[in-house]
Assembly symmetry: D2
Homo-oligomer: 327 residues x 4
Amino acid sequence: MSTKQKFGAGIWHFATYVDRYATDGYGPPRSLIEMIDLAGQVNDLTVVDINYPFSDPTLTLDEVEAALKRNKLSVIGITPEIYNRQFAKGAFTNPDPGVRKLANELINKAADVVRRFGASYVKLWPGQDGWDYPFQVDHQELWKASVDGVGQLASENPDLKFVIEYKPREPRVHMSYDGVARTLLGIEKIGLPNVGILLDFGHALYGGESPADAAQLAIDYGRLFGMDVNDNFRSWDDDLIAGSVHPIELFEFFYTLRKNNWEGVWQLDQFPFRENAVAAANSAIDFLKQVERGLDKLDFEAMRAAQKKHDAVTALKLAQEALYSSH
Amino acid sequence: MSTKQKFGAGIWHFATYVDRYATDGYGPPRSLIEMIDLAGQVNDLTVVDINYPFSDPTLTLDEVEAALKRNKLSVIGITPEIYNRQFAKGAFTNPDPGVRKLANELINKAADVVRRFGASYVKLWPGQDGWDYPFQVDHQELWKASVDGVGQLASENPDLKFVIEYKPREPRVHMSYDGVARTLLGIEKIGLPNVGILLDFGHALYGGESPADAAQLAIDYGRLFGMDVNDNFRSWDDDLIAGSVHPIELFEFFYTLRKNNWEGVWQLDQFPFRENAVAAANSAIDFLKQVERGLDKLDFEAMRAAQKKHDAVTALKLAQEALYSSH
Amino acid sequence: MSTKQKFGAGIWHFATYVDRYATDGYGPPRSLIEMIDLAGQVNDLTVVDINYPFSDPTLTLDEVEAALKRNKLSVIGITPEIYNRQFAKGAFTNPDPGVRKLANELINKAADVVRRFGASYVKLWPGQDGWDYPFQVDHQELWKASVDGVGQLASENPDLKFVIEYKPREPRVHMSYDGVARTLLGIEKIGLPNVGILLDFGHALYGGESPADAAQLAIDYGRLFGMDVNDNFRSWDDDLIAGSVHPIELFEFFYTLRKNNWEGVWQLDQFPFRENAVAAANSAIDFLKQVERGLDKLDFEAMRAAQKKHDAVTALKLAQEALYSSH
Amino acid sequence: MSTKQKFGAGIWHFATYVDRYATDGYGPPRSLIEMIDLAGQVNDLTVVDINYPFSDPTLTLDEVEAALKRNKLSVIGITPEIYNRQFAKGAFTNPDPGVRKLANELINKAADVVRRFGASYVKLWPGQDGWDYPFQVDHQELWKASVDGVGQLASENPDLKFVIEYKPREPRVHMSYDGVARTLLGIEKIGLPNVGILLDFGHALYGGESPADAAQLAIDYGRLFGMDVNDNFRSWDDDLIAGSVHPIELFEFFYTLRKNNWEGVWQLDQFPFRENAVAAANSAIDFLKQVERGLDKLDFEAMRAAQKKHDAVTALKLAQEALYSSH
């Protein structure tokens, strides 16, 4: 029996974006307060993840808190911006030790914001940590720096959780935390209880993983601390509306969470470059609710029996019936 | 016997970049004049492709011309910016007819700049023309608009060449001019002599084409009007240094041009996000010169004989010997 | 209002398979007659595509016809085996002119079987025509041979249709008829009315095409002569059960056919390596019926209006509602 | 200063192959003795990996030994055939416990052959262990069975080494030992000293790994027990001639081995479907010798200095100079 599910989103879902071509952006810049007010318009959205530092340096935490409050939103995580110009050659793995130190300091400040908002974790997304070319880096040193950088933060902040959001690539051509297994290897090496994974459905998908399998593995290591969803065409992190391309695998992903009694916020990590942000979020959450009802309907015993035999035809039939009839 | 090869580059090779994460850019913005001065520092670079309109609206054509002159550079093409905010939902295929008209007007202005600089062509790179989602567009109308938009320009400017630079995707999740064969279908439908292809080696590579085969096909239709090179890992348009990952296929690409007596500028389309732009260009051109010497050494008759038998082992041996011994 | 849809399958759906590892096969070999008897057990399957020559050389056409008759099956196409040992280096493009002649003769014999069974077409799937290595072939000659080989057959048999089933690769590392646009270029070059495309949904998907867009393009050239469906993970021709991974894009594919009033058999091209063949076919056809009902329910006018605006969110909602509520 | 390198090959390099289309094979079947005699014709090939059981059940170990001896070949590993019909639904993960037991027994027999030939390891390539469809398996149980199956063998045979050759997929749509990090997680879980990795360059490449990074990681865990090379186009295990497509990354791979003083046989895992097997092996070994000379020439200190700064342009230049000048 399912309890009422909580839904969340990265606050950047409500931003406008630039890319290397549309350098003037896909829309006029939005302030954090405007983004929060948009998030407040989404049905059943109650939780957000916020980037830090704020693009407007004069904006105070109190102002942000007030905006959140009037939109009935709470903060689940803080994402320090360790992937902008300063960190273009890496945060934890930057060849310049001074920059590595800056990254540590910035993340420690973000940790304080986590405490201030009573959030659940600092989210680490080291998108610039990795390499572009063959022969560019010493892979031993690079990986060691990736692991040590996170380990140091976790030791410095034993009261807080750190979650690593792995991704195969972008902006770096190859990210060092590139997949679930590699990230778990790093976390095991760190050996601290307060480091886990934030599993992005789309990152798993386009990294060639089965998102359900990735979730199970992270759970089996006791390290699935958070997750978010979106969709893509398996070759890039398109951050499309959840359910728009791969509804069956999304259902299997949530089936895996439910089966393991994993409780947590179902978050969105979408980039609606050309869509209305509120409409895109509502579209995803509508489908997530269908998924939730589908899980309530799904015959878990029959599914287990089919999986016991690796019986794909029966398993698929059970999944289709439960998901589609829950529209 | 090879004549002295001319080398060129898109002027954006010397820009700094932003992306959706490093929104503050990978370096301080550079003016077009600064970019031209950097291009002037590259060994043996004599030709550039320039974006239009200039980001600084006060910059005059005379000023640009003076900067080019003092750097001994000439202009091969003008690339109108039909992929920024205004055209986020497409230039030729925008759902808003007013925006389609704006695109036409902008490109016509770019055509005048081509005339002013005595350049060879207007380059069309419709990176926002396409779709993101299943069911988003009527594919018949979208493709018709893609073809008609280019056809209209070609009729309006019979004295000029228009080249289409196809690419599978980015920024649009799927571009309508996505590959060499689709683009040739469009060009044949247009039926005018002044529309051709600018073949980007990396776009072919990551679209699953053999760049050599794509070049041959475009040549066989009399439509290979230009080309540029770079490198990537076959799953994205990384715009890395030419020769850094796929030297053999680059060599086969130029072998195909030489075999067909295709004469033209060997251009670079690289985005050195984290590298020194001049060093990255020199690195590529050094390898291109090795390629040129390799072609001088290659036994074309023996290669033809091996290919006649589809003898991959012998063909590879001939290619390796010619290329590697030309270092 | 939809008429009762006809369903079909390649008869190899009911075979057992070998691959380069399981050289002893995924099950004991099955005779063509056994396959036909299995096909007869599938609900609502009425049409099959048959390979030629039969693996048992003593089997007569009369025996096959009798087996078909008792299973209430008719023949839609004949697929000559131009991809086995003899043709390992190509059928139309084989470096040996004697082998090219053999291919032509074999296909002409297959044409007679088409006539004998009153089938709709000879299906050409030139899976060995292409290349494996850089520098292996002269791309101009290879493509010319690909086109000429099909053209000759079409001239020799003006009373019959020939359909080309393109695919990016496998078994050849790169097939010459690799995508919809390339195949249309070839067909236009041939210039005969009796050559068309058999569009395999999975081949489009894993070639990076939108299957709906590919279908529309083939229709716009008057060349969509047949189609079949299955599913995969976009990186290989997995030939999984239709609807098991990409239900939305499958729905868009059939939406495109319906919108264009394309009438024809909905065929399966699945390889149930480890599944019960009848169950796998029933699973797919059950989903195809859901698709058919979904099309009956879909608000085509509202969809057109959304697509006119490139409104992905609304279009997705319409598609989801129609498809899921038709379970 | 490099010592004389030893070269090896999987004996299947000298087989003929079947696939799901060319079911009559790419050539007449070859006996193991014929394969060994072909291997003996390759320049500088001294070591082979042999499948077990032999396809001819009457062939004795003494006969094989004699054939090896007259060709001056020794055995590095034995590869039990845990991927044919019997194991089509998995060896270690088969839903049928009886089949899992058969797999264990077969591999134990292969272990005896390793002892008999004084070979270095049993090679485990569980190509059928995994899944095809969403929802098909319980991922927790599947992974546990994968790990337990190998662990049991390692406990039963503490005197022998077992190497796992991971691969993303094929023949299974997704293999459970799919990449270097996942395999290391499994090996760490097993916790025995006699289980390691056989790293296939092409598997790393097409799994989206950097082969050099994968090798470094395996070395850092003390688990790189073997390796083999080939080439592909990054989207499938094409098993092409080593060096034919990705010479730079192959060089980086061997650079990583040399830097770590990893000593071992450089093996080939190629499938020359349409090529002369001896010529294909010679072509690869010729290039590997160039790689070896290139490593002798490479300025390791300068490379380290460039990598310290993540200086891709300098690192690439050093690599190109050393490799190309060693032709």
